[in-house]
């Protein structure tokens, strides 16, 4: 990661932008961090959940007596025990569309009850819970609950769910259509396509995948009968958000009666920001039993209950001129929301995907329509790169198809259509206004670095070894920095999306930064300390960072959509600036000079031109703690808070190049080289971002090559554990070649753009483009993911898709 092309941020102590070691790592490496499963409160009872074994059925009866009699069982509960609990709400319904869903008491669309009492709608739909003395006793008792089902017909595909006569999931949602959502200009796009010199079309399946954080979800509920307060320890990427949703919207208890704590969380990638039935259940059962109640999911449980990702079936069209100028793009997508609208799933499947489809290209006419439908599958949610990965996939497949059609090099077509630097801020005609970028610089760098020009020679060489080499390009723009709260409200988001930070300077000069965000492995403690230390001009080792406990931290929305560094870090920086400006005002008093003669440097203040008349940071901190001699307009102590709501989103972007080799005999695809040049604006800690980029690309390669959530005709999830759901392993990936460009975002004081997940956006497109390139002489124009050896082997032998 070298070659910075933008300006460096203004630095105080110069620690921002440095690859400092993660201060979280030593504890993790020693196995000393506490995850939810490691929490062991005195007197804890253990909960297990009975999920539906069938995908669609009416429940005729539930018999729990036998289970209640088993050793160690403390309680068996069904929907009948929770009639006064509100349904879990969906808070992101696509903007501008009616939700067609039974309302929640607060006027929100109610997504699902805590337990299902009448009709189950997917395998894993929770029906009953057991609480027992040990986890084994709880799990064993599930088998003793007998449920009588009346089977109902099943549908698992979005397009089929919308067809005439399809099984109906919800009475209130006729035809299973949750939303018909559009963006862009339909008439203009249709006209451009009708008038075009060249049009190409593709039918794409962006298969459903399972995020698979290595730590399954878990929750511990602890009700205190003396204070009437509930504490929830949970695998959450947004403790404040869960507190808001659970207290006000589900349990109906006062906000200040619920404390949510995120201990160390073992990865999330989008899944742990959602509301799940287990969260209210452990709280309610803790109250009922007078003991802490703990639930830890299994891998199979996770696969059948935690939100899944992607899942679009699309018909896409691109129009252009014979000489390579793209004039229009159009997408019709059938999005599979699963059995219930998850907390924000419908928004992910529509706005995040649709508004992003034109990517890095300057296209005159674009239109996207999404039919978001309910089916008998696990609810859909976010997944690393969500929405944006689906968008990049369709666009980048289309560009290659178009290049093939007009006989032009795919790199040349892309280069010709990139949004030029002068056009920023750039309105993409689909609802996003890109903040900044130098796309050509980025693109050229990636093409050059990948050795693109040498590919013909490498292809010929590979053939001598029985391999077919292919090269695939993919570019992307990933909207990040959610977000401007008002703008998000226009997208249908029911809630603020700002972020916050509090900084407290202790009398001895050490500093505590407390943020509303919460890490799921992003080394927040390291990076936010760098931000504060840099602004204040102090040593980062004196800065402590706290987060993840709603009783301690200021409000915030959490970590999702690569927002922590461009949302929470600016809140830290702005708060540090408040501290600094207060120290300058107070410093004038302490030094006995006018304010405009005060110089702030190295954390302390001194008189301009007289460094003897000075106070160090520690001296200032102590003086502020005493508060002696301060005029009335300067309050004692140093304790400031900022809530940062940006004026606009930010838009990281980049170019990836995949080189694959396909074994002629086995059809196996190996990624032999991978080059990525990403632009995330100014980066706080390149070492940490490097790790996130490497992980993200690997995740994207997983979708291209091996990952798929497979449901059978009965709606049974076949790929329900890690023997049947393939995740990339160490031997599946090579080292990557990585570089960056830097175009700062004007929409936050750090010039930052989202970084964590952005590199998950293009790899699937790059790899499929590479494989299609390798098979082009066989007339192959597209292969659906995942590109399993069998699928490729069949195409090598001339079989149709």
């Amino acid at each position: 990661m070298t070659a910075v092309t933008g300006e460096a941020p203004a630095t105080g102590s110069g620690v921002l932008g440095q690859p400092l070691d993660s201060r979280e790592d030593p504890q993790l490496l020693r196995g000393e961090a506490t995850y939810v499963a490691d929490i062991d409160l005195p007197g804890t009872a253990h909960m297990a959940i009975l999920g539906s074994p069938v995908a669609h059925a009416r429940i005729l009866s539930i018999e729990t007596k036998a289970a209640e009699q088993l050793p160690g069982v403390l309680k068996v509960a069904t929907a009948a025990d929770f009639t006064d609990v509100m349904p879990l709400p969906c808070i992101w319904i696509p903007g501008g569309v009616e939700s067609h869903f039974p309302p929640h008491p607060y006027g929100l669309p109610g997504a699902r009850p805590v337990l299902t009492g009448d009709t189950v709608r997917h395998v894993g739909d929770p029906i009953a819970v057991v609480v027992a003395e040990t986890p084994r006793q709880a799990t064993a008792a599930l088998a003793a609950i007998s449920v009588e089902y009346e089977p109902l017909p099943v549908v698992t595909r979005a397009d089929e769910a919308l067809a005439e006569g399809a099984p109906q999931l919800h009475e209130a949602v006729p035809g299973n259509l949750n939303a018909y959502w559009t963006c862009g200009d339909k008439d203009r796009t249709d006209a451009a396509i009708a008038a075009a010199e060249v049009t190409v079309e593709l039918d794409l399946v962006n298969q459903r995948t399972i995020n698979s954080p290595i730590e399954p979800r878990g929750a511990v509920g602890d009700y205190n009968p003396v204070t009437g307060e509930y504490t929830l320890y949970a695998t959450t990427q947004g403790p404040h958000n869960h507190r808001f949703l659970l207290s006000a919207l589900v349990l109906g208890i006062p906000f200040n009666k619920l404390r949510v704590i995120a201990p160390t969380v073992g990865g999330s990638f989008g899944t742990k920001g959602y509301l799940y039935p287990d969260m209210p259940l452990v709280l309610l059962l803790s109250k009922a039993l007078g003991r802490p109640v703990k639930w830890v999911d299994t891998r199979t449980g996770l696969m059948n209950s935690t939100v899944q990702g992607r899942d679009h079936r699309q018909h896409v069209t691109l129009a252009g001129t014979r000489d390579g100028r793209i004039t229009a793009v159009r997408c019709t997508s059938y999005a599979n929301l699963g059995a219930y609208p998850s907390t924000i799933g419908p928004g992910v499947a529509t706005a995040l995907m649709g508004r992003s489809i034109s990517g890095m290209y300057d296209i005159d006419a674009a239109f996207c329509e999404v039919y978001a439908a309910f089916t008998n599958t696990v609810p859909l949610g976010a997944q690393r790169g969500s929405g944006r990965a689906e968008a990049a996939f369709l666009m980048e497949r289309l560009v290659d198809r178009y290049a093939g059609e007009i006989g032009m090099d795919p790199a040349a077509v892309r280069r010709k259509n990139l949004v030029p630097k002068e056009k920023f801020p750039y309105d993409n005609g689909l609802g996003w206004t890109y903040d900044s970028g130098d796309y050509r610089l980025n693109f050229d760098k990636a093409v050059e670095l990948s050795g693109y020009a040498d590919m013909p020679a490498r292809k010929a060489e590979a053939r001598t070894r029985g391999k077919r080499l292919g090269v695939g390009l993919a570019t992307y723009v990933a909207i990040c920095g959610v977000g401007p709260s008002t703008r998000m409200s226009q997208e249908g988001m029911l809630g603020g999306t700002w972020e916050s930070a509090n900084i407290r300077v202790h009398p001895t000069g050490e500093v505590t930064v407390i943020v509303g965000s919460a890490s799921t492995g992003q080394s927040h403690g390291t990076v936010f300390a760098q931000v504060a230390a840099d602004e204040l001009g102090i040593d980062p080792d004196t800065v402590q960072v706290l987060e993840g406990d709603t009783q301690k931290a200021p409000y915030g929305q959490g970590t999702y959509g690569s927002r922590s560094y461009s949302m929470a870090a600016p809140a830290v920086a702005l708060t540090a600036r408040k501290i600094k400006s207060k120290l300058i005002r107070a410093g004038a008093v302490f030094l006995g000079i006018p304010e405009d003669k005060v110089v702030y440097a190295g954390g302390g203040v001194h008189e301009e031109g007289n460094e003897q008349n000075a106070k160090t940071f520690a001296e200032l901190a102590m003086s502020m703690w005493y508060g002696w001699g301060l005029p009335a307009e300067i309050e004692p102590a140093l304790d400031e808070t900022t809530h940062f709501d940006p004026p606009e989103f930010n838009y990281p972007f980049g170019t990836h190049v995949a080189v694959v080799e396909i074994d002629e005999l086995t059809g196996e695809t190996e990624v032999v080289a991978y080059t990525a040049v990403d632009d995330a604006g100014h980066i706080g800690n390149p070492k940490i971002v490097l790790g996130q980029i490497e992980g993200s690309i690997t995740h994207g390669l997983g979708q291209a090559l091996m990952e798929a959530a497979v449901y059978d005709e009965q709606g049974l999830l076949i790929s329900s554990d890690l023997t049947t759901y393939a995740l990339p392993r160490a031997a599946d990936v090579p080292f990557f070649t990585l570089d960056k460009t830097v175009t700062p975002s004007p929409n936050n004081p750090l010039g930052a753009k989202g970084a964590g997940e952005i590199a998950t956006v293009p790899p699937a497109a790059a790899v499929v483009n590479a494989v299609v390139d390798a098979l082009a002489d066989l007339g192959v124009q597209h292969i659906d993911m995942p590109l399993t050896p069998e699928k490729v082997w069949r195409r090598l032998r001339g079989e149709a898709q």
Binding site: Y35, I214, E215, R299, G691, G695, A730
Partner: protein, 158 residues
């Protein structure tokens, strides 16, 4: 257990990972799957790395079990492998990390008197451990670094 004798009676169907986590409070060893696929539960049994979710406690009787807690004292100095992983930022959420450290220890220890493992060998060694955060790159670099350090300490060419 980590060099200390432990005496207890176990149910015949009790898994070693259950004994470690629930019985002995050694929660550094993690559970990530139900099928022996993820490697978060790897410990060393008589010096060899094993998936403790696939080992019955009773079958480990009389054996020497080493867990992540035995690698260092609480808050203590990192081992060579841990230090190398720290320098390469080989851990993000850290859930896979104890299992990786236990699985990789054998590989790194053997490097002092043999050839250093190649990159494909390291990747092969790691196939029993899943990591969703890092994509393994920093872990592989960490192992390379740890091997280099171990070899130079043993007077080998790096």
């Amino acid at each position: 257990m980590n060099g200390r004798p432990e005496q207890f009676s176990a149910q015949p169907n009790e898994l070693l990972v259950e004994r470690l986590r629930d019985g002995l409070g050694l929660t550094g060893t993690k559970v990530g799957c139900d099928t022996g696929q993820c490697g978060t539960c790897v410990v060393r049994l008589d010096g060899r790395s094993v998936k403790s979710c696939l080992v019955l406690t009773a079958s480990a009787a009389g054996g020497e079990v080493a867990t992540i807690e035995g690698e260092t004292t609480r808050g203590g100095e990192l081992s060579g492998l841990q230090e190398a992983l720290r320098q390469e930022h080989g851990t993000q959420c850290g859930f896979c990390t104890p299992g990786m450290v236990m699985a990789l220890g054998e590989l790194v220890e053997n490097t002092a008197d043999r050839e250093a493992p190649t990159e494909p060998e390291i990747r092969e060694w790691l196939t029993g451990n899943l990591c969703r955060c890092t994509g393994y790159h920093s872990v592989v670099r960490g192992v390379q670094r740890a091997c280099a350090t171990a070899r130079s300490a043993a007077g080998q060419e790096v």
